[in-house]
Symmetry: C2
Subunit: 294 residues, 2 copies
């Protein structure tokens, strides 16, 4: 996805938020915004938002010298989600179409991220997800949900690359990965995380904490961008990305980074930003399963 | 009010909005944002937001060469509000405390502005205001409402300076001005508008279209800032501002510009922005009558 002009005010908002979380005082916060501003004329609208975000979070890090301001939030998210793992699992196992329910929950798990950023009550939101009737998770109005293709692809694929998104959400990913793994002994699932901290994106330790290591091999994509920007990925990752039978991409950041890439990808995300909703052709808040094939 | 860091992303949002309304294509919109960005390091947080807004709207005007992008919106707002003038008047006349109702409506008229910017249904909003029970307009939760002081000041004041805010809202101001004028023959009311177009702020022609000329003399403050920034005002206006027995200041922009000034002022506004609500000590959406005396 290209960068839209509406993303620009949002870049400043994100820089301010990250600066504050990193403990910057008002003067340092202004310095962060000033430096983002000075870089703005160089931002290309042809780049994807995560590419620009790399510059922005780099500025915050340089000025505050805080490498991982979201560390506490990530840990809290993992704990919260692990606390409901058993109930999520029960919900999947007892449903008529367990793969469908696992997919829906994996996308809905994205709400943790949203909750943190908008100070919603995360526990309330999770409860709401858990209390929903079977098949009702996305009935609130999703317009794009290519589940039939997804199910067929899972069935025929041996090497499945799963691109993680945020901490906390990794526990929901685990549920879906276990469901896929359970559908056939031949499945080789590779779960990709970010190389270095950026916002609340999951790292290797978050995937390990969530227990994903039992069902998938965990690799780093090599990036520290909030989305898997291919030009920054490691050679090892790119080889897998190219050869995998199926790529499952979680979250908005990965959609932004990969929506124009040259292979078929299943994008699973909650449309939490009006610009992304417009780009994807859905409504704000929709639970999306979008199959892009090139 | 000082400029808060949260105002900075909002400045970019406003520049983009004004650029689009001025017919700028995507390239010109990016040029606008780039030029705002290049000026950002010079923005002082000690300045009030309307002072900075002057620079921003100046950039939009320079690049788009469109002097009054909100002209159509202003005309539409005036027409809409004039269309319900008779009903507003009836509501005031038939109420137990007509001055109180006129004050409440004058503040609630600020919703027109909000409606335009957030594409709410303005007519719906106006209907909601009109349908409310007497005294219930601000009962939705206002925390600051110095009506007793306001009523006493109206009673004892001869020269009253009324600082207008937006087009459309001027019709609501007319209702309050007529109410004040009706309370005593000795009242000399002066209604101040902006000198040149800025956003949807009322100009002389909007005040005239609203029919304010029958109850008040209309003057220009001399500014083209979205708020009466004293350092930019004309000498003539400043003389009146200093000598008036009472100053009634409408809208957020005027609060931002004058909340730290050295005379007592009655601020009437709807808190439509979280930063202003926090600064004033109220909740978002509150209908505020704030008496500041120095």
């Amino acid at each position: 996805m290209k960068t839209y002009l509406e993303c620009i005010p949002c870049f400043f908002k994100q820089a301010l938020e990250a600066g504050r979380l990193s403990g910057a005082d008002e003067k340092a916060q202004k310095r962060i915004l000033d430096e983002v501003a000075l870089n703005l004329p160089e931002f290309s609208l042809a780049s994807s938002p995560p590419e620009t975000a790399k510059i922005i979070y780099g500025i915050v890090k340089k000025i505050t010298r805080e490498a991982d301001p979201y560390a506490d939030i990530k840990e809290k998210s993992n704990k919260l989600a692990l606390g409901i793992y058993a109930r999520l699992k029960k919900k999947v196992v007892s449903s008529r179409d367990s793969l469908l329910t696992a997919v829906e929950l994996a996308i809905a798990g994205n709400i943790i991220d949203y909750g943190i950023k908008n100070t919603l009550n995360i526990e309330e939101e999770l409860k709401r997800i858990l209390d929903r009737e079977e098949d009702a998770i996305r009935k609130e109005g999703s317009s794009i949900f290519d589940y039939r293709h997804f199910r067929a692809a899972v069935k025929r694929s041996k090497i499945i690359l799963y691109l993680g998104d945020n901490a906390g959400e990794v526990v929901f990913d685990r549920i879906l990965i276990e469901e896929i793994k359970g559908s056939g002994r031949d499945k080789n699932i590779i779960y990709a995380v970010k190389e270095k901290p950026v916002i609340n994106d999951a790292l290797r330790k978050d995937a390990l904490a969530a227990g994903i290591g039992n069902s998938a091999s965990i690799i780093s994509s090599g990036v520290d961008t909030p989305g898997t920007v291919l030009s920054f990925c490691s050679k090892e990752f790119l080889k897998i990305f190219k050869r995998a039978d199926m790529v499952i991409s979680k979250g908005q950041g990965n959609f932004e980074a990969l929506s124009d890439c040259k292979r078929h990808v299943f994008f699973l995300f909650m449309a939490k930003c009006p610009v992304i909703a417009r780009d994807a052709g859905c409504k704000l808040g929709d639970i999306i399963l979008l199959h892009k094939s090139r």
